[in-house]
């Protein structure tokens, strides 16, 4: 307990919080870009075009079928190496985040797709009889209803992504797990910094769980 309190100096705490803020920022970026990719992916998968469907299918198969760590290493390490002859320079963290976005986009493709398919067929027919185009129907009628039902799982996804951003530690990014590791190597033991990081992850998790529950309740009421 003493060691724990000793570790919690203002400097150390600031350093950890700095890492935490980055973890959350990565989570936010990835969940937002992932949502956009998810909308595109879902549109591909539910389209009637065989070719577009296959592109969507290939995308989700590749990014759901392989581990996120491998994807991050592929984008942040393998790709720059393969492209080194071009002389272009890439920032590994950026590429790692790109990999995470693509991965999240694949999961959200499935999520959004099921949300869209869950909207009553009569809604599509009503837009049709009113003369709305496919895109207008999606934008004003279908997606708003689909998103309403996927907001809770989307918040879960966000929680997962904040934790998953710790994978970026392996390619040298600054985030909470990395902060803990750095502080651990500077001080006597690594146990306390890791416990401390763990507590911070749990606090974020608990907060977002509450938000998720609230969203679930709100949405249930308005249905």
């Amino acid at each position: 307990m003493n060691a724990f309190i000793e570790f919690l100096t203002l400097d150390n705490l600031t350093y950890m919080l700095f890492g935490l803020v980055w973890s959350v920022i990565y989570g936010v970026i990835v969940v937002l870009v992932g949502t956009i990719l998810g909308i595109i992916g879902a549109a591909l998968k539910i389209s009637k075009h065989k070719v577009l469907q296959s592109i969507g299918g290939l995308y989700t198969t590749v990014f759901i079928g392989t581990p996120m760590m491998l994807q991050i290493l592929f984008f942040a390490v393998a790709l720059p190496q393969a492209l080194s002859f071009t002389g272009m320079r890439f920032e590994p963290t950026t590429l790692g985040v790109v990999a995470m976005c693509l991965n999240a986009g694949a999961y959200q493709t499935e999520l959004i797709r099921s949300g869209i398919l869950g909207v009553d067929k009569g809604q599509w027919e009503a837009t049709e009889t009113l003369g709305l185009s496919y895109f207008q129907a999606m934008r004003y009628v279908i997606l708003p209803q689909a998103f309403k039902r996927i907001i809770p799982p989307l918040i879960s996804e966000f929680m997962t992504l904040i934790k998953d951003s710790s994978l970026l530690y392996n390619i040298g990014a600054i985030e909470l797990t990395a902060s803990a590791s750095v502080l651990g190597s500077r001080s006597a033991g690594i146990m306390i910094p890791y416990l401390d990081a763990g507590i911070m992850y749990i606090v974020i998790y608990l907060i977002l769980s509450r938000v998720e529950k609230m969203a679930e309740r709100r949405l249930a009421v308005s249905d």
Partner: protein, 245 residues
């Protein structure tokens, strides 16, 4: 070409080998009120949905105001816009208020300004008697109110004809009259209408013609009075004996 408002020319529609509408032909003049009746599964919905372009018949053609309704043709959407369609289950957009439901298509499809669209919407809310509900969401309305909003929504596109697929079948009995009264008012104003309905009273008093379907075929197509008092086919007689007390 013909100058019928609606002309259905020998259409057949099958679902996985099952014939839902079988070689049906029908002509409806401007201002006519035609009721489609028949037993459950006889193809009433399929027929009216083919007329609106929600389903596409394999053979035969549908003409609206003299023009062929063809999903592959460039004017499909334009022709379709001449028809308003009202569903059994209303299909209001739950994510929008009543007023937003009514103004969406006029703004996005017809390119009206929000203000113009709202003026028209208020006019039709008045017609269906729901002005005070304009800012409510559909889940706050009763079934009868939802259906009247759905009728107003279709009217906001100023259609030349209205198609109704069992508009009162999902309603509690005390709500039915409100909806039928709105439809009657439309009929009195000269709207061309096709109504799939089990409401014999409405068919009897409002319809000019009754089209009776069985097993996807139009078995009888006659004026309402003749149909109810003196039906030709045994099938229609049998049907009437079952639905009339």
């Amino acid at each position: 070409m013909t100058n019928s408002m609606i002309k259905v020319d020998h259409i057949t529609k099958t679902f996985n080998g099952f014939t839902a509408v079988n070689d049906a032909s029908l002509e409806i003049e401007k201002g006519e009120i035609v009721c489609l009746i028949g037993p459950s599964g006889s193809g009433k919905s399929t027929l009216i949905r083919c007329i609106n372009g929600l389903e596409h018949p394999e053979t035969g053609k549908v003409y609206i105001d003299g023009e062929e309704l063809d999903p592959k043709s460039g004017n499909f959407a334009q022709i379709r816009r001449k028809m308003g369609f009202v569903f059994q289950h209303f299909n209001l957009f739950p994510n929008m208020t009543v007023l937003e439901n009514l103004t969406l298509a006029p703004v996005k499809v017809l390119g009206k300004s929000q203000q113009e669209a709202e003026d028209v919407a208020m006019k039709y809310l008045q017609v269906v008697g729901l002005v005070e509900k304009k800012d409510e969401y559909p889940n706050k309305l009763s079934g009868g109110q939802k259906q009247r909003v759905a009728i107003a929504r279709a009217l906001c596109l100023e259609p030349e004809m209205m198609l109704f697929d069992e508009p009162t079948s999902a309603l509690d009995p005390e709500m039915v009259l409100d909806v039928l009264n709105v439809m009657k008012e439309l009929a009195n104003e000269g709207m061309t209408m096709i109504v799939v309905t089990h409401e014999m009273g409405f068919a009897k008093t409002v319809a000019n013609r009754v089209v009776f379907l069985e097993d996807g075929k139009i078995v009888e197509d006659t004026d309402a009075k003749t149909f109810y008092e003196n039906p030709e086919s045994d099938r229609a007689k049998d049907f009437l004996s079952k639905v009339m007390y």
